[in-house]
Symmetry: C2
Subunit: 99 residues, 2 copies
DNA sequence: TAAAAGTACTTTGAATTTCAAAGTTAAGTA
DNA sequence: TACTTAACTTTGAAATTCAAAGTACTTTTA
């Protein structure tokens, strides 16, 4: 009997991190405030989940000044996209599971 | 701006509970030991997640004796199926998200 | 030039969740 | 009567999550 949940990635069980990665799969660069609006989060909560993904090296951070304001943007790393795709594949398989 | 993760159900973020519900979407009744094998879990861990789903009234428990051995089986309740489907719809929407 | 405001955090602490390990109960079998 | 199996329950510790408050840096405003 195979272990049908073994390939789900723990980094993506939290819905905030799931949201961040989903957005980064279809948008190259996304900035802090866009995430904040899309996911409806406080600064601290967003920052902490971003930090977790950064620690896993799933996202890459770039800080620039735009219109004389700091604008931090994020994109998925290659390994981040790979890990997220593998997670989605595991999810998809799970949802088709039969005994 | 809509909140793209608001409709994800907290009861299904854990991979064990996700696994249990996935199995119960395609199998009417599933027993304790089948779950244990499919999900590769200890008794305690499986029982605690089952208990959580039961508390939410997402699953229904039936205890019978089969071959003179106790055999506890579980099935998804109507509200459990509904909640799980809503969660999957929210997931699907999220994964198609664009800015 | 001093104060206020905006952006993007960091820190703190508490609540909640998760899990392994050990203990329990109830019935069946030797 | 001891032993086994199935299905839990309990305990306690570790990990996770989150809100709230605080901070650093820069620009704007008075």
């Amino acid at each position: 009997m195979k272990k049908i949940i073994a390939n789900l990635n723990k980094s993506f069980d939290n819905k905030v991190r799931l949201g961040i990665m989903s957005v980064l799969m279809v948008n190259e660069w996304v900035d802090f405030n866009t995430f904040k609006d899309m996911l409806d989060l406080t600064d601290g909560r967003l920052a902490s989940h971003i930090k977790a993904l950064e620690k896993d090296e799933y996202i890459i951070i770039e800080k620039v000044f735009f219109n004389k304001k700091p604008k931090t943007s994020y994109k998925a790393s290659k390994s981040g996209k790979k890990a997220f795709n593998e997670h989605l594949n595991a999810l998809e398989k799970l949802l088709k599971t039969r005994k």
